[in-house]
Symmetry: C2
Subunit: 429 residues, 2 copies
């Protein structure tokens, strides 16, 4: 080890950047002792140097010129916490081309451009680490890549969006409807003014694409992740689910079978006995099944200034260790296989179906007949009268092909006795 100092350049000084700065300063002694070198933040790219950040920053630390970070020969490791694709990707690729290792918390960029980043790192003898891009401070990327590396992973199921988990928890515990839960999440700062990325599942899809790529050693394109948000979940669905011994969660599910890799983000009924079922509020958790390890779960805070920065700084420490010994690429891209994505129609799960129907003889029989003739068999039925002549039916199917279920639903929607297919939610065992 010739070098005893590692210099960091940061791109961005928002919530996570601030956390990185704080941890590197407040826990400096332990961090430097573990790495075996001093670690110094040399330059931080910001938009506005004069803004009060509540930190006592050294003169000259902030810059508005990205070149001071990415082209600066004195900087060894670049921490990208800008978020988004532009200009984060350009900056990141330039930093890598200059041989600087890259630590990023940017799920959008890693999910969409992981390949370019890894190739640039490999070509230029440096590393890309992105633990913070999935599930904040929870160790999951490195455990998957290293600790569980001896396994064939068969499935990864995650609660990987804290905002929606908070909302579903409130809907479940207090009977709030979607709008009320969203307003509460917004007032607490858990949800953005425009909550689309969270409630429509885009955020979870990016994280799932990253997790699935690592778990199955194949690049999973973001646009191949099946996506359904939680906007159609009602307090009634959650109440019926509870009667059936399920909770409702927004899950990111990735499974491998002979037909390919299945990747889907959608709300699901989950058995109350599943280890993920008790993961509430803003907590995240990722459940992994491997052929050797069996089932393991990683639980913690999936977002926030310090939790996310905890993962970033750990990655900085790893990158520093490898750089000090000049051994980049020890843990590099593991997408060495090319596996097909399984078409959604070929996936199979159980389904929860809530219907509004006319309350007269023969209705259930006609519905059951349509399901039966599409190879959809029913596991349980709850029927409740809602007004004088209307009834609500809640069905749970056995495990069926998605395609068969959708075929059956098309016919059922048009039955004269069916007023509305109120909701269809997958059931995960």
């Amino acid at each position: 080890m010739s070098k005893s100092r590692i210099s960091i350049g940061m791109l961005g000084m928002g919530t996570v950047g601030r956390g990185v700065y704080r941890i590197l300063n407040e826990n400096r002694d332990g961090i430097e002792q573990k790495v075996g070198a001093s670690i110094e933040i040399k330059k931080i790219l910001v938009r506005d140097i004069t803004k009060d950040r509540g930190l006592d920053l050294e003169q000259g630390l902030l810059t508005t010129d990205a070149g001071d970070v990415i082209d600066n020969p004195a900087i060894d490791i670049v921490v990208e916490v800008l978020g988004g694709i532009k200009p984060a990707l350009d900056y990141s690729l330039k930093a890598l081309k200059h041989g600087k290792s890259l630590i990023t918390a940017n799920k959008d960029m890693v999910a969409a451009h992981g390949k370019e980043l890894f190739e640039a790192a490999e070509d230029n003898g440096c590393d890309v680490f992105f633990e913070a891009s999935v599930a904040g401070g929870i160790p999951i990327i490195r455990p998957l890549k290293e600790c569980l590396a001896a396994n064939r992973i068969s499935q990864v199921i995650g609660i990987i969006n804290g905002t929606t988990n908070y909302m579903l928890t409130r809907m479940s515990e207090e009977g709030l409807n979607f709008g009320e839960a969203l307003a509460q999440a917004q007032s607490l700062g858990y949800a953005e003014a425009d909550p689309t990325a969270d409630v429509e599942g885009y955020d979870a899809a990016r994280k799932l694409a990253i997790l699935a790529s690592i778990a199955f050693n194949t690049r999973v394109p973001l646009d191949q992740v099946y996506l359904e948000g939680i906007t159609r979940i009602t307090a009634e669905d959650i109440k019926y689910a509870a009667e059936l011994n399920y909770v409702v969660k927004l899950l990111g599910i990735a499974k491998e079978s002979e037909e390919g890799v299945e990747v889907r983000v959608h709300p699901a009924l989950l058995s109350k006995n599943h280890p993920l079922a008790t993961v509430n509020d803003v907590y995240n958790a990722i459940y992994v099944c491997g052929d050797a390890v069996g089932d393991v779960m990683f639980f913690g805070r999936g977002a926030g200034e310090l939790p996310t920065a905890s993962a970033v700084v750990a990655d900085v420490m790893s990158a520093a260790r490898y750089q000090l010994r000049n051994v980049p690429g020890i843990v590099s891209c593991t997408c060495f296989a090319e596996k097909p994505i399984k078409p959604m129609g070929l996936t199979s799960t159980k389904y929860y179906i809530r219907l509004n129907v006319a309350d007269k003889p023969g209705v259930l029989a006609s519905i059951a007949f349509v399901f039966g003739s599409n190879e959809v068999s029913l596991a349980s039925v709850i029927q409740k009268q809602i007004t004088g002549h209307a009834a609500e039916i809640v069905l749970v199917t056995h495990r069926v092909l998605e395609k068969n279920l959708q075929d059956a639903l098309k016919i059922i929607k048009d039955l004269s006795t069916v007023d509305e297919v109120s909701n269809v939610i997958r059931v995960e065992e």
Copy 2:
């Protein structure tokens, strides 16, 4: 990278050894692709070569001569799965002296002789990894050493003995008493014929000493871990605990405060809302609090052939990666601090106390008076009549100093109105 083949020697071919052999063979493709080299088991030390192991083993693979493994210049990495101190420690030290990296699943050896092993590794340019020594397949050692390395850890609380967790789960769910639960655990192969190491907490203490040493960067001697087993826990205690909204778990608890490091293994009442409370049956889990990450938990199977071997093989893969690049010691011993162990008398928790008393006026007052004059304040009291003239009182204290509680109990035991102090169990928040 000059080398493209890594040769393994194994010490022992019991349950875990068999698992290592199976995983290395069954998942060979993925493992070798990730490591970037072929991995071959060259020699396995066994006691009896002729024993049928249910595996199709190559001629000449087994040996009864330890030298064929530890002195063999063709072997790069030694996997020690003998268990116990003798002869595992001698063999391990010799292997390290010959520059072979050591992978061990041996909690006894690591807890008692970690320092010697690490020093031998450092002196001879090789590595010691021991992920499998704590909590089987659950990634915890590497996550603590690397993924959470930016944190100051304030506490580690673990359910790290599957046998006792299984027994306590049965006692809780089926109302079994200790003996019945033990018999059931034995009949399922979860408990040994002599269950002492599990039920008296020795097994958990070894794992806790290892975890605490890593979490707090100071060597925690095994003999300084406070120890209480579960033999005195009754179905009644579990029932009362449930009434008070607690579950009973055997916990390994390590905390750091200004007075030093606190390390204790004992049964405890744990709030039903704690993430560890739903960890049942033979599952293990480790809950960690860090100043940056907040609380995280790692959950999974803490024992068994393949789960434990999953951790061993992952360590083999890491050791191979480092050996191929000739960079030992990247993640070495992190016990760089020397912190005192906090005397048990200075620890403070809440307590659950169950007493048999005479059912007459003034009894509770006299007990409460003794507690009060020893600065033990009470949070709740349940009193139940058991026979005509005897009553059972269950008290829960506020957080008090262990020393004060023990002083009070000495006096209470001798009160004429107190027949018996039936049980005293700490309450963990």
